[in-house]
Amino acid sequence: MTLVNETRPIQTSGNKKPRGQRNLASRALEALLTQRVVLLAVLIVIVIVVMSLLDSAGRLSGPYDPDYLASSLISAVPLVMLGLAELLVILSGRGGIDLSVGSIVSLSGILFGMAYGEWHWSFVASLLVAVISGGIFGAVNGVLVAYIGFPPLIATLATYYAYRSLALVISDQKPINSKEIQDFYSAAQSIELPVIGGSLPLVPLGIFTFLIPTALIVWFLLNKTTFGRRLYALGTNDTAAQWTGINVRPNRLAVYALSGVIAGLVAVVTVSQFASARPDAGTSGNGMALPAITIAVLGGVAITGGIGRVSGIVLATLLIVWLNAGILLALPGNDGSQFQLLALGLVLVFASLLNGLTKRKYGGI
């Protein structure tokens, strides 16, 4: 809700000088405020330095070292992937948002668990079940939004309820943890990298099998394909995009379907992490959708569409994951998880206030 559109002339006066004449400090400040990636990188460094200092002062209950940071990355896998799903959807504009990703994780996870654990299908076939079912659930959102004209918030709120309910009903509210599923836990373990691995910390396998491929594919889609460029056009101005000959509806539908496909992949990751297909995997507590949206906003995705980058999502997740890991060491037990809520809330409020400020000061993120 932008209440005042015009920029303030007094504040922008410094901006009007040619770049070369401005001193380094003001340029650094502008980069920090306008380039979300720069800000996130600085914040990550601050978090690591502060936590390491606390560690060397003996204030932490465990070592905050590269091994710990690497092992905490396990929780980054679903966050980055769902953050990328939200990136795609929010980017597409017209109030794009997907509240249903957590429910799709639950429902596709149950379908995967049934196929792999109960019907004894091969892993690849079961993976396809998760991915295709996720794609179909996402496409339902896409049809409602792109073809019938539902506001995305409403369409995905409705399917959030529906999928979440279906996951609980078809599984009879019981998790699936047959032997196959339990053995599947090995997919979530940490591994040593080949060749150079000996001197580096152990990194969870999911980073290589799921996170990095997804991030690369989404990056490639957004930056190197016409689909990606159309998406930015769509998000910036729906009507203008239509007049330039972009077929708006199929493109918007595709975005929601892709978001569902990513949620289907996350379902498989989650099953491996829990060693069990839980019907409430993506919906228990605050669910998975809200943290994913938080990551997207923190990563500099404009909620109005048209602005957002893959690198922002990755860095925002690293910041949150490493901050949370540090909080857990500084305040063990319940205190830690409670202060994680506070940290997430404060970071989100300040990130969005900052978005508003930079918009007025520099005109855009």
């Binding site: 409403i154 409705a158 009903v169």
Partner: protein
């Protein structure tokens, strides 16, 4: 999105108040009344126990908090905003009031004042950030939801609050909570809905909210003080959250656990959009919200009474959202064509 078509059609010189105003009950509301009536009849046929006071009274008690917060949420959504922090705010108000009652055994009106005052404060925090920070409402309220939950969990200290005295029983499910068979909490909710309906329809302040939701810039240029009005909408939501938290404590047992309020924000938003309020702002009604809350809770209670898995209720809620908003979209499209 637009203010009602008739506003434009009315001749300015001779326009009477009645001709400018939209009709008191919208088409969506008639449809909802019909759907609820059909549901109640069907449930009455298939589960004979449904249309008895023992089943209707708890249903009305369960409708009250959703509809009450829904009134505030309707105001917020009419201004083209949204508040997803109500779940966290319920949790915080409920635990503060419960703890106060356990430790000090305060009288009823003090408990109410604490709850409503605290809720108002939380709402005004949201409102100030949204109106003056000029950031998107959904993002800010996601953030404050986390912060409210954090504070609530700190106040909880242990996993539950035990031994809550019966101070709030006048809003509860028991005999003390009813007059002539009507639960007090539901009666208060209906009263709030009527006052809110009158405010939105018949006062300048109410019409300003619609104008802000239709086009905030145009509203500002027309001389409406946008920011105080927006703060009012969020503050009202907060105050009603406080009152609803009291209803929730009263309708539970003497123990309050940390799950209180969890997921309520989506339930409230579902009731509001089923009631025909446009999420894009500028259009909506509190009567629709009350009917939406009745529909959602009827489905929830009906599924249980039919002996179906209770989780199935959410599937129907999802389907009702799609049908309600879908028919609204189709009607809008037909109206634009004609």
């Amino acid at each position: 999105m637009s203010i009602d078509e008739r506003t434009k059609a009315a001749p300015p010189a001779k326009a009477t108040a009645r001709r400018i105003l939209p009709s008191p009950v919208t088409g969506q509301e008639f449809v909802l009344i019909g759907v609820i009536a059909v549901l109640w009849v069907l449930l009455g046929i298939f589960t004979p126990a449904f249309l008895t006071p023992n089943s209707i009274q708890p249903l009305l008690v369960s409708i009250a908090p959703i509809a009450l917060i829904g009134v505030g949420m309707t105001f917020v959504i009419i201004t083209a905003g949204i508040d997803v922090s109500v779940g966290g705010a319920i949790m915080l108000c409920a635990v503060v009031v419960a703890k106060t009652m356990v430790s000090a055994d305060v009288p009823l009106f003090v408990a109410l004042a604490i709850a409503i005052g605290l809720g108002l404060l939380l709402g005004l925090i949201n409102g100030a950030l949204i109106a003056y920070g000029r950031v998107h409402a959904i993002i800010i309220t996601f953030g404050t939801a986390n912060i409210f939950q954090f504070v609530a969990l700190r106040v909880f200290a242990s996993s539950t609050v035990n031994g809550i005295p019966g101070t709030l029983d006048v809003f509860g499910r028991g005999e003390a909570g009813r007059t002539f068979g009507v639960p007090h909490s539901f009666a208060i909710t209906v009263l709030v809905v009527i006052v809110a309906w009158w405010y939105l329809r018949h006062t300048a302040g109410g019409r300003h909210l619609f104008a802000i939701g239709g086009n905030a810039n145009a509203a500002r240029l027309a001389g409406i003080k946008v920011q105080p009005r927006v703060m009012l909408a969020y503050g009202l939501t907060g105050a009603l959250v406080g009152l609803a938290a009291c209803f929730i404590i009263a309708s539970g047992t003497s123990t309050l656990d940390q799950a209180v309020g969890s997921g309520k924000e989506l339930q409230v938003i579902a009731a509001v959009v089923i009631g025909g309020t446009s999420i894009l702002g500028g259009r909506g009604s509190v009567i629709g919200t009350l009917l939406g809350a009745i529909l959602v809770q009827t489905v929830t209670s009906g599924v249980t009474q039919l002996g179906w898995p209770s989780q199935l209720a959410n599937l129907f809620v999802g389907i009702f959202i799609i049908i309600a908003v879908g028919t609204d979209l189709l009607r809008e499209r037909a109206r634009r064509k004609s």
